[in-house]
Amino acid sequence: MAGIFAFAESRDGELRKVAQEVVTAARKLADAAGTEVHAVALGGSGLSGAAGELGKYGADKVFVGESGAFDRYSPEGFTTVIVNFIKEHGCDAALFPATALGKDLAPRVAARLGVDYLSDATGLDAEGGAVSVTRPRYAGKVFGKVAVSQKPAVISIRPNVFQAAESPKAGAVESLDVDLGSADFGAVVTEIKAAAGEKLDVSEAPIVISGGRGLQDPANFKLLEELAEAFGGRAAVGASRAVVDAGWRPHGDQVGQTGKTVAPTLYIAVGISGAIQHLAGMRTSRYIVAINKDPEAPIFKVADYGIVGDLFQILPRMTEEVKKLMA
């Protein structure tokens, strides 16, 4: 076997949490297939220290490619470095995170290698030389399981599903040659808007608090933000399609079939009745709490716990109680 490639995503010289998850998933696959994990981290300078920790999650070798040109994501640069790496080292499966960056990068890598790509895997296994991938379709209304015999199997894994688990390896760090010479790329990231990294994304947060029409006014999302804050930076605020369509919240916050599918540990649906397209996007959450004034709302049919009542009274109380708990 020729190894499992794991892409370790970083931002501003820091590995992202999902990098541990990708390496953990790769470790499991490598153990099932009897092969090694090769983790690759690309970025500007300052990554080598952070990359060393990937050994802790099961990387046999960690390759770090640092270049001033990689201070920001370089779509074509990253693709070229990764495709060269895979051609040189061989690879049975290449794992990426199903993040904005991973979902941009992985299909390009696959197309350049001439192989298929499966996104958002929620299950991975190695069976008889093939990598078997389970992934949602129709935003999770059904799941598909595919045995990929093509090499490499190029896959992105959904954040929060493969919980990072320590499986220490020596994790020797090698530096990777990322000199692309005078390569002239057609697409260049020139700027990063907003404080990227400061705001937790619904697709990655362990707690998601989503609001719907029941909030009545965009200004009332402040109540959700206060509750999210009370959870001490572990919670993100999401939204239903109705309120995104109404322009109350940006599309990036939308949970559902035409938004993001999420799998947090705790999902709190506030003033959301539970349309089929919303349920599709959040039903794989580990625990679901519904707060709604209508006891017949479909959201209660999938919720583990529910409170019936006026969210404008319930939310402030909840924020107050959570603050006490977290103090």
Partner: protein, 248 residues
């Protein structure tokens, strides 16, 4: 400016999805099919930029069976100028779809190739970047808004907690997500006009899928319990989340 928009026919978001007897496809009976919602944003973006420039051409292309012609007519009714159906006996996904589309686009003159960020049926989010790779042109995905100036595209792209600004050299590809382009409704006039617009059909040769998926339903969630009514139920809810669910 010449734009090409690749579109797909998919089940409506409100559709209940049932697995067919073969275990690897869905039962289309009773399902309403629509133009993929993300592709609507892409069609709208192409039309907006054509209108702003006061000139240009928008061609929509789809690969699929005969029923995809209806989806192309929807895009023509919105205002696209011409349509091409690459006719196959099934609608391919991923690399197989990208190869058919790239082969068609390669022989055309174009400045921009637009896609919806993802198809809401296979959820792959792969075809746009794959077509661009096959054509050897730059691409940026998850674009909420872009401008065109002097042979250059400046695109805003959604990332976790913010946005990236990407500059691309034309010709290039963009995959569009919900943002600045609110899809227009086709007017009656548009629908009538669409009937007279060219819709070319060509046979496509589609690679067999590398592997067929076996479909299953997600495990049913059991309805839980109503902890109580009103704010007084909050302490009990938090106690359950802490001691029973152990999530906070």
């Amino acid at each position: 400016m010449k734009s090409i928009v690749c579109v797909k026919r998919v089940p409506d978001t409100e559709a209940r999805i049932r697995i067919a007897g073969d275990g690897s496809s869905i039962d289309p009976s009773g399902v309403k099919f629509v133009l993929n919602p993300y592709d609507e944003f892409a069609v709208e973006a192409a039309l907006k930029h054509k209108e702003a420039a006061g000139q240009g051409e928008v061609t929509v292309i789809s690969v699929g069976d005969a029923s995809s012609a209806e989806t192309l007519r929807t895009a023509l009714a919105m205002g696209a100028d011409a349509a091409v159906l690459l006719k196959a006996d099934r609608t391919p996904e991923g690399l197989a779809a990208a190869k058919v589309l790239a082969a068609e686009i390669e022989g055309r003159e174009y400045d921009l190739v637009l896609f919806g960020m993802k198809a809401i049926d296979d959820d792959l989010q792969a075809v746009g970047p794959m077509v661009a790779e096959l054509l050897g042109i730059p691409v940026v995905s998850a674009v909420t808004e872009f401008s065109v100036d002097n042979g250059k595209v400046t695109a805003h792209r959604e990332i976790e907690g913010g946005a990236e600004v990407v500059e691309l050299r034309m010709p290039c590809a963009l995959t569009i997500t919900k943002g600045a382009y609110e899809p227009r409704y086709a007017s009656l006039k548009g629908i009538m006009a669409a009937k007279k617009k060219p819709l070319e059909e060509k046979p496509a040769s589609v690679d067999a899928p590398a592997a067929q998926a076996t479909l299953s339903y997600p495990p049913e969630r059991q309805a839980g319990r109503i902890v109580g009514e009103g704010p007084d139920a909050v302490p009990e809810l938090l106690r359950l989340l802490r001691t029973e669910a152990k999530v906070i």
